[in-house]
Symmetry: C2
Subunit: 150 residues, 2 copies
Amino acid sequence: MKQEEALRISFQVMSEIAIIGHLADTALANALPPELSVAGFGVLNHFVRLNVEGESPARLARAFQVTKGAMTYTLQQLEELGYITVQPDPADARAKIVRLTKRGRKARDEGVARVDPGMKAMIQAIGADEFAKALPFLIKVRQVLDAARD
Amino acid sequence: MKQEEALRISFQVMSEIAIIGHLADTALANALPPELSVAGFGVLNHFVRLNVEGESPARLARAFQVTKGAMTYTLQQLEELGYITVQPDPADARAKIVRLTKRGRKARDEGVARVDPGMKAMIQAIGADEFAKALPFLIKVRQVLDAARD
DNA sequence: CCATTGTCGTTCAATATTGAACTATATGGA
DNA sequence: TCCATATAGTTCAATATTGAACGACAATGG
């Protein structure tokens, strides 16, 4: 493959990824109840997927690649909704510990239930094996981009 | 593949895509000169890639899947920078025609030159054929998501 | 040839995000 | 031990986006 063609195709790949990311974000925002943001849902989901009991805001900010300020904002909303608790860390007076509440767990499960149908429809239309085949490439791209981020 | 596993993998694929989109967006924003936003660069690039002479703001908004209000904002910036001209459409008194200026063309070329090295490094690290292989899947996902957007 | 309905572009408040500044606390050498 | 540097979390102005409302004009079907 010529260098020029490789560049063109790679640009298109990144462009498609950007568009898909945008469309998926919008679809997710519409699927969720209006009081729960995509960012908020991500945090709730994080606790369940990774089966974590408590996480600091700083660790959450790094996990989601957002600034600490953005995480403060998201956590304040989740706390107002009663989906998390935020308490001082007894082992580090600078830090806090975020925990999922029962209500938060329920909100996460309901969120997943709202998202599942759309996901299933997409799998139906495209094929589960296609997703499985694409995953390693996407992981590699993510890792390379992540490493390049100085 | 079990339904549950298919769901898990598909979620992970969408999650990786979202993260890559985010990382690429940040990298692009850093590569561009500060006065040129990612959205603005996208508009400039649109004219060159598709070799279009004039486009209406409404068509641009649809092409980039943003609201007309967002496009107004982006175009106002580009016009202030002297990268585009915005003139009334003689054939439709509601509409306007956006055109790329010489300076806009130059800014686009310089933008591409700033982005190319990072892109080439990624191709080097991952392999041009991997990008080519992934493209059809990504196009299909984008089309399905686009069609599902009511 | 109107009346209805649709499209074009703008404006505005609301939302989510960043980067930078700040305070408080921790940590690791000299 | 103390100092320098690093990290935790918050706050704030600035930016980019959405959705909704609006006024102007276009298109279409009776």
